[in-house]
Structures are given as C-alpha cells and as structure tokens.
C-alpha cells in the first residue's frame, strides 16, 4: 500500500472512496426519503394551470429570494406551521429537461416565505398588482417588477381579469391584463396553502403561546407594548393592501382612515370583517370589487384585538378599543 508511488491505488481510493461516502450521506438517504414520504391525505396535486404556474415560478427564479420552508422555530411562526417532508411529496419531475422535482425550499429570505401565501394573501387583484409592480402595493419593496407577464387591456379580453394599475406605475391606458403565464403564476401562488396537521405546532398555536406571554406582560398596563404588537401585526397582515398609512389604494383597496366601520362606537362589524372578510362593499361612495380574505383561521383573538385597536387609534382615527374577549364573543356569535 503505497499511495505515493502506486497511482492506480491512489486514484482508485480517491474516486471510489468518495462514491462510497456519497452513497452513505446522499444517495441512500435521498432514496429512503423518496420511498418513505407520503403526501398528506388531504393534499391535492397541482391542477394543470397551477403546474404551469410552478414552471413560471421556477423560470423566473423566484427561488432566489423566496423560501418555501417554515422552520420549527418561533421566529418562523408568521409564515405558517413548520413544513414537513410530506408537504413536498407531490412535487415531481417537471419534464425531460428537468427530470427531478423542482427545488422550492430556497436558501435566502430576501422576500417573505411563500409556503402559505395563498392563505395569507388570497386576493387575486393584489397578486396581479404586486407582480405588475410590487411598489404599487408595497412602497418599500425591492422585488423586481414583472410587466412581461401582462398585456395592455384592449377591451376584448374575454374572461381574463382586467387590472387597474395605480397612476404612478401605470402604462398608457392604465389597465392591463395578465398573460396566460401571469394567470398561471397567480393560480400557483394562490394554491400555496398549508394543510393543517393535527398536533403540529401550527401558526395559531405557536403564535398564541407567544401572545399569551406578551399579554401577561402587558396586563400590567404596558399599552405601548400592546400597540407595538398591533403595529407589527398590521404591517405583516394588512398593510400590503390597506397600506402603512391606512389610506388604501384608490378604487382598489378601501382606506381605513375615516372609515365608518373602523370609527363606529360598536366594534362588531369591524371585528367581523377581519374574521370573515368582505366583498363588494360600497365605502364612502366607492364600490370595491376585489374580495378581502377572512383571517379567522390565521389570527387568534388577541391578535385580532391588537389589529383592531391599532386601526382604531392610528392615522388620526380615534375610536373605542376592544379586548380579546370581545373578539371571542364575535367569533362565537359568527359560528352559531
């Protein structure tokens, strides 16, 4: 055995030794995971259009900035429940050029995690506006704009949704229609909804543990802390449509500043809107067509109360505040 003189011994050991190690640490574990990972019983495979959307997602390199991987850490709880191997089980080979499942877990979170984006931001209108130019809805965003997923509206679009772009970002004519690729991408994004796992430390549970810790602290009258929590929840959950300044987007997302429901002495309708969502309401003479999702499943009573109170006491709004018990009451009333 002389590695210094016997070249075949040296080169053979280098080559086959590495292949042996690769089997132990990569190939066999991968094979084992492939055989032993079942999708969740409720999981549905992507529809044709959603699958095409996934292909657009891969082609545009969304993976460069967005993870689809919620770690079992409290800091990841805003993104959903921790992801499990089963969540990726239905991802399969794309085509002959890509005979592997696409990598969606990601390695950088320059933008938000998207594991549950379909539930967190279910408004199709918002997704289109955001893709056309992210800064039209999130002023501070640094995400690229994707105007090539849209065409100018001509009036003869058929079923395709017509999107009105805010003036500062609008092309000539102001209205655009998503191309087939654009529609597919949004269909895929809206399909990204986590399926609850019984017993897994889900968003709501993890979040509520943290919340109860927080509210213990604020029980002593630490209102500032409670408001900071409301502001942070508002920024994460509501601001992308209603905007950080509460003024919404004219004609698309209604303002909360001076909004009659937000200012009403009886907070009932305000709480109900957050819990159950809304569609087709006329506010201050403007009819808003794009639906608002309900947040009953994603936010617990403390969190809804914090958001309601933030909206009722910010941007010049000054209306009576609510408690988590008020929210619990509306939740029960709604369930009956």
């Amino acid at each position: 055995m002389n590695f210094h003189r016997n070249h075949w011994l040296l080169l053979g050991t280098i080559f086959f030794g590495f292949i042996g190690l690769a089997f132990i640490i990569a190939i066999l574990p991968a094979q084992w995971m492939q055989r032993n990972t079942e999708p969740l019983p409720e999981a549905k495979p992507l529809s044709d259009i959603e699958q095409r959307g996934l292909e657009v997602y891969i082609a545009e390199g969304c993976v460069a900035c967005h993870t689809q991987q919620v770690r079992p850490l409290p800091m990841d709880s805003p993104w959903g429940r921790p992801t499990a191997a089963a969540d990726y089980a239905l991802l399969g080979p794309m085509d002959v050029w890509r005979p592997y499942s696409p990598a969606v877990l990601g390695s950088a979170r320059t933008g938000p995690d998207l594991s549950n984006i379909g539930a967190r931001q279910s408004s199709e209108t918002w997704q289109y506006l955001h893709l056309y130019n992210p800064r039209a809805v999130v002023k501070e965003s640094i995400m690229p704009a994707y105007p090539w997923l849209f065409e100018p509206a001509t009036g003869a679009e058929g079923d395709a949704p017509v999107v009105t772009i805010p003036e500062a970002y609008a092309p000539e004519g102001g209205k655009v229609v998503p191309t087939e690729q654009g529609q597919a991408l949004v269909a895929y994004l809206l399909a990204l909804r986590q399926i609850p796992i019984e017993g897994a430390s889900g968003t709501t549970q993890t979040a509520s543990t943290e919340t109860s810790r927080d509210s213990d602290a604020s029980a002593g009258g630490d209102e500032e802390k409670a408001d900071a929590k409301g502001a942070s929840l508002y920024a994460n959950t509501c601001a992308s449509c209603h905007q950080a300044n509460g003024e919404g987007l004219p004609g698309t997302f209604p303002p909360l500043v001076g909004n009659a429901v937000v200012l009403a002495d009886d907070p009932g309708e305000h709480i109900d809107t957050i819990l159950n969502g809304a569609q087709g309401r006329t506010i201050d003479g403007t009819e808003y067509a794009s639906p608002m999702p309900g947040f009953a499943d994603q936010l617990d009573d403390d969190q809804v109360a914090a958001i309601v109170n933030h909206e009722r006491t910010s941007w010049g709004n000054d209306a009576p505040t609510v408690t988590a018990e008020d929210v619990a009451g509306r939740r029960e009333a709604g369930a009956e």
Binding site: I14, Q34, S101, A103
Partner: protein, 480 residues
Amino acid sequence: MVNPASLLPASRSAIVTKAAVEVAADRDTASTRLIYVYLGSATFWLLVGTLIGAYLGLKFATPDIDHIAWLSYGRLRPVHTNTVFWGWASLAMIALALYVVPKTSRRRLHSLPLAWVSLGLINAAVLVGDLLLMAGVNNGGQEYREYIWPVQGVFALGVILVTYNMIRTIVGRAIEEIYISNWYIMGGFLWTVALMVIAYVPVYQQTGISETVIQGFYMHMGVGMWFTPMVLGLTYYFLPKLLNKPIYSYSLGVLAFWTQMVFYSMIGAHHFIFAPTPWWLQTVAIIFSVGMIVTLAAGTGNFLMTMKGSFHTVARSYSLPFILVGVIAYFLFSLQGTFEAFRSLNRVWHFTNFTVAHSHLTMYGFVVFLIWGGIYGLVPRLTGREPSHFLAGVHFWFAFVGVAIYTIALMIGGTMQGMSWMAGDAFIESVTMMAPFWLWRALGGGLMFLSHLIFAYNLWCMRPARRDLPQELAAQEAMA
C-alpha cells in the same frame, strides 16, 4: 529560482518595489499558448460574471432600473454564480493545473489537442447555459445546479477529458513519487466528475425532499470538493516554488488530504439545518463540520509554517501577497462555515445576507486570491513578460478592500436581519433596514469589478511574445 529578497535592498516606501521575475529557461510555446488561452477565456468570464454581479447588487437599491425579462434579478442571479464558478474559477484552475501536473510529473501534457477540446466544451457550456438561464430555461435546482443536464453534460465532458488527460500524464510520469499537489488536483477532478453524475441522475431525487438531500450534498461538494482541493493543490506547488524552499511538512499535507475527503463529504446537509430533511443527517453534518477544523489547521498551518521566516520575500513579490491572503481566508472563513452550521447560530444567520458574505469570503477571498497568486506567479515565467508591478498592486488592493467592504457590510446587515426576524418585527423592516448595507455592498462590488478590469489588463501585458511565432512556424516546417 533565486530568492528575490537577496537581490534587492529592503528599502521601504509607500509602494514597495517588487522583485522582477527572471525569464524561464524551459519555455514550451505550444503549451504556453494553451494555458494562456485558458486564462484568457477564464478572465473573459470573470469580467462577464462580475459585471452581472455588480449590476445585480445595484438592483437592491434601484429595483426599477430595468424591466427587461432577460435581465431580471431571478434569472440573472444564477448567471452570475454559474459564470464565475464554471467559466472563471474552473477554467483558471484547470489552466494552472495544466502547468503544474506535467511539471511535477517531469513530462509534457499527455495531449495538447485534447486540452483544446476541453476548453471548447467548457466555454460552449457556459455560453449556452447562461443564455438559456436568461431565457428562463433552468434546471429547477438550487445553487450551482441551474444549468439543464444537456448543458452541464457538455461541461462535465470537458472536465472528464481534462481528467483523462491528467491521469495519463501522471501515469506516464518520469519520477517515482506522485507529488502532493497532484493528490489534491486529481481529487478535485475525480470528485467533481463523480459529483456531476450523482447530481444529475434523476433516480433518487424525484420528490421535493429527496431532491433537497441531494441539493445540500451537491451545492457543498461543488465548492469543497472542486475549488478547495484544486487551489490547495496548486498552492502546494506555487508556494514552495515562489519561496524557493520546500513545503514545511509533506505529511501534514497528506493528513489534510484524507480528512478533506472523509470529513468534507459528510457535511453537505448543513445547508438545510431545520429543514424537514432527516434530523440525523443534519447532526452528522454539524459534527463533521467541526471535524473540518483538523483539516483547516493542518492545511493552513502547513502553508504558514512554510512562509515563516520568508515574509520579506512575500512583501517583495506581487504574487505571494495574493497567496498569503488566500491561505488566511481559507482558515478564517472555512471556520466561519463551521460556526454557521451550529444550530444556535444557524437560526440567526440562515436565509440572511450573512450567507452571501460567507460565500464571497470563501469563493473570492480564499479561492480566487489563490488563483491570482498562481497566475501572477506562473505566467511571467512562461511568457517572459511581466505586468506593471504597480498595477498588480492596485489590482490586489482594489480586490482586497472591495471584498472587505462587501462582506463586512453583509455580515453586519445579515446579522441584523436575523435579529429583526427573531424580535418579531414586521418583515418589511428587515428589507428597509438593509438599504445602507446594500449600498455598501454595491460600492465594494464596484471596487472588485474595477480590480478585475485591471487584472484583465495585466494579463494582456503578460501575453506570450509574438516573436515566438516565427520560431514555432520554423519548427513546424522543420517537422514537415
């Protein structure tokens, strides 16, 4: 080679006068031209890849700078990474290996034509691969596995042919022992050939999470079993050669080699800590990441002990400072990688820009600086032409200061990103908070790119002399 320090007085001024290189005696024109064209191609890709990198850095400050699909961030990012990986660093390392392996085997390269074929294949793969990425055609994989298999296959074929060329050269060596450089270099070639095949065979990676297991393995081995052993092997040749003294300890080099192969192979899964990949796999990866400290200490210690007592020579050379920085960066930032694997630190740094800083500290501070050290050490001896010593110094300092600004900004900013997420701040705050750090990064990246322009000019100044051509023609005529 004469020790340059003994030739010149050690006078100190703002600019140290660098020792000139004596003209090499054994000039082989055909092989020199081959190596020079490899380096020229590599440098072309360096300019393309880092111009794109600098442009991408700008986009963090001005996301609406263009609205062109082919130039959008998600498509261009893999163009940057793959170009500097497969186009620049790989070709430059192969170029230097094409000199070192025959030299240490005391014979000519097995086949020059075959080496030209490899060069053509690799250039073609990078060109086509980049255009496809910009057109939105990618493999759907993560880092360094974005080229689709027909493209990566052409690249792999190029590497396989070089590997064969090298094996035949070593097998036919005119010296009994295989020099330690060739252990590392052949390790780099053979491991990479195996890795490319493992990464692109679909059988065991058809669902999301099995693909992730392979991806973790691949993205780490792609760096650590290709670039690392290659540049270490080259340094085992260039460092003693440039210092004109033997390596401090041959056996430390052998120890570091085997631990590199065994420990490094096991640590790929640390790219997916807290992911739903098997927990034991992640733990094994963390343990072996700690084991890598043995390899690092042995390798760096060996190089530094070789330099000990010769730092005057380092200061008077324009190639050795690059090697010194590369060796120190190898130790520090591989160690940083070990720390990043710990679960406690990983939760702060994973997914943040800290990772981007780490990859530039290792790929640039370590790998690319060693490559530059090798190029400045070798090419003047091959062609008999030197670059301006002053411009070589400007190249060094622009690259050094540039990468320092770039990485310090992202390490601070990345840590703050992680802290912001842990504090439960609204996500958008982790974006707005980064704005000044991204500006610093753009500045550092701009300096780095500027240094590459200077390097390209320096390489041009080192081109083989034209007067070699008539001699060669005469030689060919004589043969005919």
